[in-house]
Symmetry: C2
Subunit: 198 residues, 2 copies
DNA sequence: ACAAAAATATATCAAAATGATATATTAAGA
DNA sequence: TCTTAATATATCATTTTGATATATTTTTGT
């Protein structure tokens, strides 16, 4: 099976809701999506070009007064069809890259304090990210009953909260373990010193 | 700041423990690492070549009997230094790509049943992955006291378990929510049918 | 009122990562 | 004996990343 360009479908999905410029897409992704799928300009602009060439989006150039040129992209019926087709395809493997875990795996190379510091930093960041998501934590029950179609973005939000929470819980546990290791080390050092002094 | 090739350091880290062939590295990563950092042959072989050219690893070619050629790579003192240097660098942003969340975000495009099915599949997979990790769940307290340097791989394992657990918890919650939506839909349909019949 | 900073907007590109595939031998199982 | 799994290396087009360049407009602080 050939590799498929997923960015195409992400962008199709975004413009299927509302026409947008490359900049709009980037910003929207950053705010809504980035914790589970981020894209940069280096993907957005070439992909939009390709989608336009294939007739899946329609480009309209707006020049107002002296304002900078704005290219707005709208989904076409063919684009909507293509998106629908992708939606029915089976979900592929998810991918994560945690540099912190790589470094921690080789943590024996570093002083214990340094490893603790790295985990603490990670914990703080995840806490901040979680707080950010929690601001959008609406009353799901109300959504279920009144706007069921809006429940889906909420489900992704929920996943983010669960995920960040698990990072924080892990960090607490890991720090606890390393503090024990640290304490053992200190006691061993003291014993050594006492021996030398005697 | 220029982009840095992290694969170099991952591979340096691996061969710093034990000399290995490209195949060994791939296999080891698959078994130990892949849930937080996966690499393919397409990265391994060119990276090994680059590391050798820079004198960070030493390549020895072994030809035994009629066996296929085996290239084994060993870390050099310069490589060890380079690895140590990277270890002290600040940890960069972690990245995740959850295709399931993208599709779920646009879930209103699909029947509720389909979205539930996708989440159930995801839940099953995460459960299997968690069970796999739990097999290696040693007694941490013992490691802390007797082999503190071996505690680090255990910490990454712990993260995996936490992470998979959070996916399962989320899936259960999400399925519960969508089942409510489904029930509401069915009731609405029944009311419609009754109205038509009257 | 003025300067600085932030937001809006598009674009490019080298380097890195992905994922699929090709090839060939040896060991293990049916 | 035949087939499958494991060992082993290699390539490559496509995709993704991350950094940077450019320029205008709006907002903010002094």
């Amino acid at each position: 099976m050939a590799k498929i360009n997923k960015t195409r479908y992400i962008i199709l999905g975004i413009v299927s809701m509302k026409p947008a410029s490359g900049y709009d897409i980037k910003k929207w992704v950053e705010e809504t999506f980035s914790f589970f799928w981020d894209i940069g300009y280096g993907q957005i602009y070439p992909t939009l070009e390709g989608l336009e060439k294939d007739g899946l989006v329609f480009k309209s150039t707006q020049i107002e007064d002296g304002r900078p040129i704005r290219h707005e992209y709208e989904i076409t019926p063919a684009g909507r069809e293509e998106l629908q087709k992708w939606m029915t395809l089976p979900v592929e493997e998810e991918k994560c890259r945690y540099e912190i875990l790589v470094k921690l795996f080789f943590g024996y190379m570093m002083p214990v304090e340094e490893n603790i510091r790295i985990i603490e930093e990670f914990r703080d960041k995840k806490l901040r990210e979680m707080e950010l998501l929690k601001k959008f934590d609406y009353d799901i029950q109300e959504f279920i009953n009144t706007k069921p179609q809006h429940v889906y973005p909420l489900l992704t939000l929920l996943m983010g909260i669960h995920s960040f929470k698990s990072c924080i819980d892990w960090a607490d546990e890991a720090i606890g373990i390393l503090k024990q290791v640290q304490k053992n080390n200190e006691q061993a050092n003291n014993t050594d010193n006492n021996k030398q002094e005697e």
